[in-house]
């Protein structure tokens, strides 16, 4: 039995407007009822404050936005790359593709590393989810999903389970067993339920909770054992396409990115949207770095020669390198501090859909629409010197 301090929040028809959606438990005149988030707001705002009209609210909203911009601009005293001018340039990287994982029958949409730094899970448009051993290229498990376009997959921190979902609007957890003959699909546990496609999922610090993002514009935190919704996060005005947890062990915030061009930072306990960043323009072909404490954008990574969009990115262990997977089939490696491109990785024959650095920072894996995954790694200088002396 999981130890819950929350009331069970459910998913179903709202008691007020009857639309099926994630519900909040509230008391109206001491009676417990279940309302969807829109009806909760309607109820809370009944009876306007004196003098508040649509026009006055609009004015206040405009003046607040202006004030926000001014406050943020006041602190913009220097650019990140100026502070980084005196640092040594990143020496020539020797990152090359060391492994190519072939086996998916269609576009690979997502991948995730296991904490043991060698296994990875990948999901594909053909409805299959495969667990690989990155060193031996062995396919350890292959799980068929009942839907195509499995857009999200995640490895549990313990390495004992995987979660995946996509067009089925659900996130399901599969416990991994050592017995090769065991039918994994039979042990499937449906955890999350959204009203549109699942775009991202990740386990929190334990196997017990999953955070999901969906095309329905919300993110949600679920308890794996009971399948109950612990917290939902409303605020995006369009599909949420990605999410990432804050790295600390005691962390209770995460960031989500959506088609409304916003990156929102959320408090996991209260469901509150604590910060929001909206400087991306519609034709995105750049990466932007936002500093949370300065509450603004501090760097942009772009080049005139790059005209295709970025689908996924990840930092190296020290945060100095930024790996971006682009729709022009390449991976660009940026120097985070100086803002220039350091290197490129070639090899994929179609768009790169996901890029992830391994937990120990030694490898970076990229998944692509060319049906393969590539694991790339750096080699030390001594090996290169030997090569040069032989040729």
């Amino acid at each position: 039995m999981c130890d819950q301090t929350f009331m069970a929040i459910t998913f179903g028809p709202c008691d007020n407007c009857s639309t099926t959606s994630p519900l909040m438990n509230i008391y109206i005149k001491n009676e417990p009822t279940n309302y969807c988030s829109f009806c909760v707001e309607m109820m809370a705002c009944q009876g306007l404050l004196k003098g508040e009209t649509l026009a006055s609210l609009k004015n206040e909203s405009e003046s607040l936005k202006k004030k926000l911009e001014e406050e943020r601009a006041k602190l913009h005293d220097v650019e990140l790359h100026q502070v980084a001018e005196k640092i040594e340039v990143v020496s020539a990287l020797s990152i090359k593709t060391r492994r190519v994982l072939k086996g998916h029958g269609n576009k690979v949409l997502c991948m995730d590393w296991c904490k043991d730094k060698r296994r990875l899970v990948s999901s594909s448009q053909d409805g299959k989810v495969i667990v690989w051993d990155g060193f031996t290229l062995n396919k350890e498990h292959a799980v068929p999903m009942p839907c195509t376009w499995v857009m999200a997959c995640a490895y549990a921190p313990s390495g004992c389970a995987i979660a995946c979902g996509g067009l089925d609007n659900k996130c399901s957890v599969y416990p991994l067993s050592l017995d090769k003959n065991e039918n994994l699909a039979a042990k499937k546990k449906s955890v999350a339920m959204h009203t549109n496609y699942l775009s991202g999922c990740t386990f929190t610090n334990s196997d017990m909770q999953i955070l999901t993002s969906s095309g329905d514009g919300t993110c949600a935190l679920w308890d794996v054992e009971s399948g109950q919704l612990l917290q939902s996060f409303h605020g995006h005005t369009a599909d949420v396409l990605s999410l990432d947890l804050a790295p600390s062990e005691t962390g209770n915030t995460f960031v989500s990115g959506g088609c409304d061009k916003k990156a929102n930072v959320w408090d996991m306990r209260s469901g509150q949207n604590v910060q929001s960043f909206e400087t991306h323009e519609s034709d995105i072909n750049c990466c932007r770095l936002y500093d949370l404490r300065a509450d603004r954008e501090v760097a942009v990574y772009q080049k005139d020669s790059i005209i295709f969009g970025v689908s996924s990115l990840d930092f190296s262990l020290s945060g100095r390198l930024l790996f971006g997977g682009y729709n022009d089939y390449t991976i660009n490696i940026w120097d985070v501090l100086k803002g220039n491109r350091v290197s490129m990785l070639f090899g994929h024959e179609n768009r790169v859909s996901t890029v992830k650095v391994s937990p120990d920072g030694t490898s970076v894996c990229s998944a692509s629409w060319d049906n393969t995954l590539r694991v790339s790694r750096a080699l030390g200088m001594p090996w290169l010197l030997v090569l040069y002396s032989l040729t």
Partner: protein
């Protein structure tokens, strides 16, 4: 949807937006120079631990291509 409920729903949306903006405006911020200095310090301090940046000695690398022996 009746005109009345359209009005009240846009009112609700406006109130929600104002509430959110008030919250965001009250966030404590630091100067970019300080934030940038902290970012720089973090990256430099952890640089030696970053295998993709520094490279991995061949003996530790399980992905290295198998070397063949050449007897001279």
């Amino acid at each position: 949807m009746s005109n009345n409920s359209v009005n009240s729903s846009s009112l609700v949306i406006a109130q929600k937006a104002v509430k959110q903006l008030r919250l965001e405006a009250s966030v404590r911020r630091i100067k970019v120079s300080q934030a940038a200095a902290d970012l720089k310090t973090f990256c430099l301090q952890n640089a030696h631990k970053d295998p993709l940046l520094m490279g991995v000695p061949s003996s530790d690398n399980p992905f290295r291509p198998p070397k063949s022996c050449v007897l001279i």
